[in-house]
Symmetry: C2
Subunit: 480 residues, 2 copies
Amino acid sequence: MPANSSKTSPYLYLQIASRIEKQIMEQVLKVGDKLPSVRTLCRELGHNMSTITQAYYELESRSLIQTRPRSGYYVCLPPGKRLEAPKPSSPALNGSNEDQDDLITKVHRDGSNKAVTLLSLGVPHTSLLPVAKLNKAMLQATRTVPGSGTGYDHVQGNENLRREIAKWSLNWGGVLNELDLVTTSGCMNALSYCLLALTKPGDTVAIESPAYFGILQLAKGMGLRVLELPTNSVTGIEIDALKKAISLHKIKVCLLVSNFNNPCGSSMPAIHKKEVVKLLEHHHIPLIEDDIYGDLYFGGSRPGTCKSYDESGMVLYCNSVSKTLAPGYRVGWVAAGQFTDKIIRLKLNHSISSATLTSEVVAEFLKNGRYEHHLRKMRQTLHHNSMKYIAAIASYFPEGTRVTQPEGGYFLWIELDKRVDTTELYNKAIKFGISIAPGRMFTLQEQFGNCLRLSFGLPWNEELEKKIKILGRLIPGAFY
Amino acid sequence: MPANSSKTSPYLYLQIASRIEKQIMEQVLKVGDKLPSVRTLCRELGHNMSTITQAYYELESRSLIQTRPRSGYYVCLPPGKRLEAPKPSSPALNGSNEDQDDLITKVHRDGSNKAVTLLSLGVPHTSLLPVAKLNKAMLQATRTVPGSGTGYDHVQGNENLRREIAKWSLNWGGVLNELDLVTTSGCMNALSYCLLALTKPGDTVAIESPAYFGILQLAKGMGLRVLELPTNSVTGIEIDALKKAISLHKIKVCLLVSNFNNPCGSSMPAIHKKEVVKLLEHHHIPLIEDDIYGDLYFGGSRPGTCKSYDESGMVLYCNSVSKTLAPGYRVGWVAAGQFTDKIIRLKLNHSISSATLTSEVVAEFLKNGRYEHHLRKMRQTLHHNSMKYIAAIASYFPEGTRVTQPEGGYFLWIELDKRVDTTELYNKAIKFGISIAPGRMFTLQEQFGNCLRLSFGLPWNEELEKKIKILGRLIPGAFY
């Protein structure tokens, strides 16, 4: 039975579905809003559970709402309003190696102005973090840790923390123990030690394209040649392109952000992860896996990792709590497989040990379930934010705009008409107190000039919606 | 009038001096013990101030006691029992570059056994640290810092901390402001960024000999050639040797621990500091100055730094609170002169930012005078410890043993008969639960095999005296 004739439908569930649809169409219920639970609606309407459930199934089948596991039903963008995903990238295999240091420095500098709305930075807003509970754990740590954490910790890292991270690794199919792990000062520090352990100046590192600018800058700064590979904005690195690159180049190491990639939001399907690990292993190329967004999934379960397919110890798995709990704590880690001893030595040489108290606080958070509890809430907020941001982009950006629909993480990757220059857009937007991340930041080549990354780590509100509306208006309409 | 005839001296002050001397000779008053203050003795003996003061002067002129500024008078080792200083080093200018990684790893590993008395490590004992006050400051920081320190701090480092360090630099003749400073994860991390900024693999770095093994390992690990230079155990690097080295080698950078050097305890006289800065400047060689022990002086005032003579921004000054306040906080800094931007970039690439809360706590400690207050006490304890350790060595080590008399810091550098092998001594001592640092750890060449470093960071007590006695007995006596 067609949906729009259901008003007078003899079926109760269709009548209910129809009423909800009307509210969605009239924007009483907006994208990202949560519907009442089945139980609540039963009680309020006086119907039985199966009727309400059927009504929700009907709306879901019409793509008007979607379920979020262990959370409920949410209004989503109607099919007609959905934007396409950005096209896969196609960087040159012998591309230039120009960095965008000036642009990146400018974005950083402008961003330090407190009045600016930072859509550019992938940083969790304080309101997303369990600050009071962290402070309580910190107070406790000063009481329980010997010497209140004034002493040097174990070179390899706080033992409690390593034990808890090892346990936590079960979530992504890891079978780590505390001796497999080395703590670091955040995830970039882990990546830095991995690159220091595996490369010397002049070596080639293969990465996704677009890629996080911090990784590009680190690699360039270390005198490495960066090989950017074609990447799909949904499924991540293109495996055929990686194969081709291996046949043409002497790749020393591969570095991938396997889940909810920055900036694309892409996640490698499990089968891709396995294939990439086996391919690289076959060619004796170590893989540095950055899984910093892996715990921020919007679906029912955590995505796996490349590391879980690692049988020869060639995958160096890096992570931190900088995107989930407390960037300012600087707590990260690496499980470096056969390179663990080398990493420990590097850490000892370059910084002796990690900070004791913050390690202990994170260990406690993991141990007593507070981390999982916090993440459940954070994931819901981020998912909700992402839907709101996408809906606003669909409303306010020119037709033809492409945007990712990430299933986790922090970022939307937006592709505008190819004649739009997002670095110019940045300059206009900053005058309105809006900071975006122009696409050119995420490559060393001439590409992504018409792309931008928006972070949805800021809490959604009307003010923010206005900013996105302004941003949409600043995009030169003449091209559309 | 000869001292030993003073018993029946008609002069009151000599009678008093004589009585104190007797107590010292009979070990009622022991080396390192504090004498009653002049005021107290006046009151108790019923004499006037000038008599007591004269008595103390008399004892001081006989080298039986010494003054410690703003603290009082202390019994020191009598002249006849004093040991000579170790001879200046004479490493080969084209020496080998063998590292002692296995030995260093062994010393570290053995040291993690809680039952071992760690005379090997230059770490402040918890009892030396103001733990309760630090905890209070930490609690306060969680209340006052925005977001309780969960957010990323400024790339260059916490602004309050940099301001306070800049003010503190007045103590050593610095004229820094907060923009001159970059915070780091401890002093080794500062040195690491300096070397990353200034060198590439194959370059030569000139350092003292003996030198801190962490510096040797860092330089070797980065693929640098280490040029060890002749060093005096009192005045530090030999300037003529440095001049000669510059004429023979392409030195890319020089790295010196200018005050209370590790392991020697040497401090460069002000005139040497100035001369070295001018010499290196003339040859366009940057100087990395590690001043991590500079605040731990036993004398009346803080020694100066090479940085204070730096007019061209070629001195990169590194420091931390790891030896003075809280190693586990990982708070260090560098004032890198003309290389500051390069260091900021390196820090951003390799670790994004420093931990927020611990930076804030250290800033508060500096700001409200708690740091200075704490240091006054710590210096006295360390000085007292050093006298006790030296006296024990004079008593229990074989005749002919040479030892430094450091005027600050943590370390005694001991030279035994040249046929003694201190690596063997280490193996014997560890069986008695005593860990020492064999001389071979402090060089990449074949030297210092008969030397060892003892740290006096552990609080002095009878147990410790016994350990030093055992250590003395383990030194093969046959050579003496």
